[in-house]
Amino acid sequence: MTHASPDASLERAAWDVLRSVEDPELPIAITDLGLVRDVYVDDHGRIRVRLVPTWTACPALAVIRGRIRDGLRAIPGAGDVSVEYTYDEPWTLERMTAKGREQLAAHGLAVPACRFAEAPVCPYCGSRDVAMESLFGPTLCRSTYVCRRCRNPFERFKPPAER
């Protein structure tokens, strides 16, 4: 009979914590948003999590980090915990999961498929006949639009622009 090594079970527990943390400004888990870059667990139970921010000035970043820290520290057997944001790779739309996209759409938030400049699709009626109202919306990661067909205002998830 084999036993999982302690760091393997700690790592699983760490991922469980990460999957339970939501972005306070978007109704999805940070794992579906693609914020988690990697998780390291060593033999002493130290857990190190590195995150990729969507928008670096987002006030939710500190909240998210705090919630992750609290969750990780509560894992039995966890040693020192460090949670940091890294910039060695940019956050891109590919990091978001299909589930995350569906959840945002269910909340009336359109998500571009891959590029920031592509025309959005109305999340209510599917029309592409939409007009932008403002590049800057209620949070740093949202723009506001109105659908010309169904007349609904809607928001669009705003990714940082590609280079």
Partner: protein, 262 residues
């Protein structure tokens, strides 16, 4: 446990000081423009522009914080101390960015000129080879794109006929341009960074690239930059009275209790 390599460090103290001076300029620029933009919150010309300018302010202040954190390291409260605990003459921001808003057209002209410069500068910083600063610069460059789009849209709107509207925008450009040339003011640090290979382009080439970036938009708007000498000083800590006034407002809360944790 595989831990990523630590960030590279500069061993030569002169080069390190020059690199830090560069980061202080960037952070101070972002803090100053972020503060001035934030003064439009609640009084923008329409709700969308109010939200936009406030969002841009929030981002510039956030970027300032990230650069102050690079400078202060792990020190608790270090970023706030750099932002709010220094005297006005210790700031290295370009003088344009501390000027009062005056009117919406001035703020838009300033935003356009600054965003073009910032895009250029972040591109240079992304090539400096020093991590995590280079990665941070690349990341911030992607965010700034939206600021430039907002500024260009507004400038074209403002510069449309009737002629007196364009005359007001031209007057704002006449006022802002000599100060904007101060973005490119150099100190000994620039030579050190160039020789050390951290900064790829000298100031003259940066200025040419910046002019090439802003001129097409200005021409589309039938605006022309004025002739005249640059207004310098900011990169050496020589500022206008506008900074003293702004500094007093900006630091008031922090100075009331520097040890407080927010």
């Amino acid at each position: 446990m595989t831990v990523p390599a630590p960030s590279s460090t500069i061993t030569d103290p002169t080069v390190r000081a020059a690199f830090q001076e560069w980061l202080v300029r960037i952070a101070d620029d972002e803090l100053a423009i972020g503060h001035r933009h934030s003064e439009w919150t609640g009084v923008g010309p329409d709700i969308e522009s109010d939200v936009a300018m406030s969002s841009i302010a929030q981002e510039e202040l956030g970027h300032a914080r990230l650069f102050y954190e690079q400078l202060s390291g792990e020190e608790s409260g270090g970023a706030d101390r750099l932002a709010f605990g220094r005297r006005p003459e210790e700031f290295r921001n370009a003088v344009l960015l501390e000027q009062p808003n005056q009117g919406w057209e001035f703020s838009i002209v300033r935003l356009v000129l600054y965003e073009a410069y910032e895009t250029l500068r972040l591109g240079l910083l992304a090539q400096c080879g020093q991590e995590p600063v280079a990665g941070l610069a690349a990341t911030l460059g992607r965010e700034e794109r939206y600021h430039g789009l907002f500024g260009a849209t507004w400038l074209e709107r403002l510069a449309r006929p009737p002629a007196d509207a364009r005359a007001r925008v031209q007057a704002a450009l006449d006022a802002a341009w000599p100060y904007a040339l101060g973005f490119f003011e150099t100190t000994d640090a620039d030579g050190v960074l160039l020789r050390a290979g951290l900064l790829p382009d000298p100031a003259e080439r940066q200025l040419d690239a910046w002019e090439a970036a802003v001129r097409p938009l200005l021409e589309r708007c039938a605006l022309a930059p004025p002739a005249g000498r640059p207004c310098l000083g900011g990169r050496r800590g020589i500022h206008t009275p506008a900074l003293t006034e702004m500094h007093a407002a900006m630091t008031e809360v922090w100075a009331s209790d520097p040890e407080a944790r927010w």
